[in-house]
């Protein structure tokens, strides 16, 4: 069959930012869907957002309430959200309570009433909330339940209505549930309390007719309503941009030389070192070098505010205030507020879209991890992988800093075992030489080609990082306790 012979399934906007991307472009029109999850996890809010995003006076939404949350209370709370438009009630959006019908006439009565209302107004959207309470009426009679769901699905599909059935289901109820079998789409919402944080996640368990993004996606409910954050950050469908391998200056010419001519465009570079070694300063010099070349940049900081960051840069003669004002630089201060990586990433992505940034600094990964909800910290490495892959895939060059505990017996590459996620690694460390604590740097890894093998001493001066000559005449520099060439190594 040719592509043009196949029926085209329209995709409706869900009204939930981020969810259309997760669904593969939107919700299939005329689909029969279930939103399941425990009480309070956001099922009704999600359905309302869809309703207000799509309902029109010509093809209104019929929102049937059945027992469960009283309709007046539902309206009382839902109208607090930004998407809820009171002026569209009773024209585009109509609420109908079927509690008495269920009590008096059971499933058959419910089906008759829904059919009557559907035939009367020709809705584009139908919601039944809570469908679980309807099903309880048929509890124990699986055949009755199956017939009811099948007939309801048939009715609403015939009338070209996109349908949501909302229910409080537990995960253990998933197998063999006839409701889930009939559904075209099954959305499962989770709300998990981990330590002092609440983590909300969404799983598209089933979606007929189109490919959705698999896995668990975090979401948040704010005054504006629900916002979902795709695991792939909405970048999965984009073609990977193959950088032209242009080299970007890090802002310190000697270090550019050590890197073989700069950082390859689209690489992820890690600068690891202990406190005070100049990681953040190098990151700032990298951003400033880009700005001087007309390349907008983003800095995600977790430990200081944007104005403090700019002030610190100016003490090294780096003017970030002007680009901050003209919009070519954005400093994102991500506060530790139960974030998921995807939420933080969404903020970074929005800033990238807004500024057209090609350089991104994450200062630091340890701060990033601390900003996350405890429940997300265990996934940090995996999340970081998705983030780096997604961003470098669209040609963004990322410089991340990582604070390392200093060891004076060995050279640790990085914690989190994340070095495999980065293309390039620069290691900064202290060494004890002749009664002084001095600093050395080395390039450990350059995925894109050759790099210097030198261990160079450097200093933090008023104009930034100043790199000196290769340290010769010493062995065991990388342990931090070198010996003069010819002397024996220190005992561990």
């Amino acid at each position: 069959m040719n592509q043009q012979d196949k029926v085209k399934i329209n995709k409706l906007p869900t009204g939930v930012p981020g969810l259309d991307e997760i669904l593969g472009g939107g919700l299939p029109e005329f689909s029969f869907n279930i939103i399941a999850g425990s009480p309070g996890c956001g099922k009704t809010t999600m359905a309302h957002q869809f309703v207000f995003a799509n309902a029109t006076p010509e093809r209104p939404a019929l929102y049937f309430t059945v027992l469960g949350e009283p309709a007046l209370k539902m309206l009382r709370y839902q109208q607090q959200y930004g998407f809820f438009d009171l002026s569209r009630l009773n024209t585009s959006v109509r609420f109908i309570n079927l509690s008495q019908v269920l009590l008096d006439r059971g499933l058959e009565g419910i089906l008759e009433e829904i059919a009557k209302e559907v035939e009367a107004v020709n809705p584009g959207i139908v919601v039944v909330d809570s469908f679980r309470t309807v099903m309880r009426k048929a509890s124990g009679n699986e055949m009755e339940m199956q017939v009811f769901v099948q007939q309801l699905g048939l009715l609403l599909t015939s009338w070209e209505a996109t349908t949501f059935l909302i229910g409080e289901y537990a995960e253990s109820e998933q197998p063999d549930n006839p409701v889930f079998t009939v559904a075209d789409g099954l959305f499962w919402l989770y709300q998990v309390v981990e330590q002092n944080s609440v983590v909300r996640k969404l799983h598209i368990m089933k979606l007929r007719g189109q490919a959705s993004v698999s896995g668990m996606h975090t979401f948040r409910i704010t005054d504006a309503g629900m916002q979902a954050f795709s695991r792939t950050l909405g970048l999965a469908a984009r073609h990977r941009k193959i950088p032209a391998r242009k080299r970007l200056s890090i802002g310190v010419p000697e270090l550019d030389d050590m890197l073989g001519g700069g950082i390859p465009e689209g690489d992820s570079l890690l600068i690891a070192g202990s406190s005070g070694t100049g990681k953040s300063l190098l990151a700032t010099q990298f951003i400033a070098a880009g700005l001087r070349q007309g390349e907008p940049g983003i800095v995600a900081v977790f430990e200081e505010r944007p104005e403090e960051y700019a002030a610190r840069a100016s003490s090294f003669g780096l003017n970030l205030e002007t680009p901050l004002k003209d919009g070519s630089l954005k400093v994102i201060y991500i506060r530790p507020l139960d974030l998921s990586v995807d939420e933080a990433m969404q903020e970074i992505l929005d800033a990238i879209k807004k500024t057209g940034a090609t350089r991104l600094v994450i200062d630091s990964l340890a701060g990033f991890e601390m900003a996350l909800s405890p429940g997300f910290r265990s996934d940090f490495r995996e999340s970081l992988y998705r983030m780096i892959f997604a961003l470098t895939g669209i040609g963004i060059t990322i410089l991340s800093t990582l604070e390392m505990e200093e060891s004076f017996t060995e050279l640790l590459f990085s914690k989190f075992s994340i070095s495999f996620l980065t293309d390039d690694i620069i290691r900064l460390r202290y060494v004890e030489i002749e009664g002084q604590l001095r600093k050395v740097m080395m390039v450990l890894k350059m995925r894109g080609g050759a790099h210097s093998k030198d261990i160079r001493e450097y200093e933090i001066a008023s104009k930034g990082v100043v790199i000196g000559e290769r340290l010769t005449g010493y062995d065991h520099l990388i342990t931090g306790i070198p010996t003069r060439v010819g002397q024996s190594a220190p005992k561990k």
Binding site: T65, P70, A71, L72, K73, L75, R76, Q79, L86, S87, L89, N90, F95, I96, N97, L98, S99, Q100
Partner: protein, 147 residues
């Protein structure tokens, strides 16, 4: 913030209810001419509100409104809410003028309760759905009732 007083209807809501009852009284009433206007108003609100909140949901609301109204107008004591949400006992109220005032109090409390739950804008739009030509949005904002 203090909890609400026992009465939900402000002076503005009472005035709105009075105008609504007068509007209904002046209108055509095929088949309902034997019912007082305030009862017709309650009856006309019953259908959309039962549809929205369920028969029982509307009935509970009206029972509460009636209780609040009875605290202000003792003569409403014979009035009851039937299981389907309709009113009975209005015909037992002797003086017609007094009964009309009592009915306005009941309607005002019902509107006040609705406004407290779902907001003034939605309540006014509900009224407009039933009486499309009634100037529901032309009056003063409904302030919260004072103790």
């Amino acid at each position: 913030m203090e909890m609400r007083s026992r009465t939900t209807a402000s002076l503005e809501i009472r005035e709105f209810a009075q105008r609504l009852v007068a509007y209904e009284a002046a209108g055509d009433v095929p088949g309902g001419a034997d019912l007082p206007a305030e009862v017709r108003v309650a009856e006309k609100l019953r259908h959309p509100l039962s549809r929205l909140a369920g028969v029982n949901g509307f009935r509970m609301l009206l029972v509460r409104a009636l209780m609040l109204a009875k605290e202000q107008v003792v003569s409403l004591s014979p009035v009851q809410v039937k299981p389907d949400g309709s009113l009975e006992g209005f015909s037992d109220l002797g003086n017609r003028t007094e009964a009309a005032g009592a009915g306005v109090t009941l309607i005002a409390e019902l509107l006040g309760l609705l406004a407290a739950f779902v907001g003034e804008a939605f309540t006014r739009s509900l009224v407009l759905d039933v009486w499309p030509d009634f100037p529901a949005f032309d009056t003063e904002p409904w302030r919260k009732s004072e103790s």
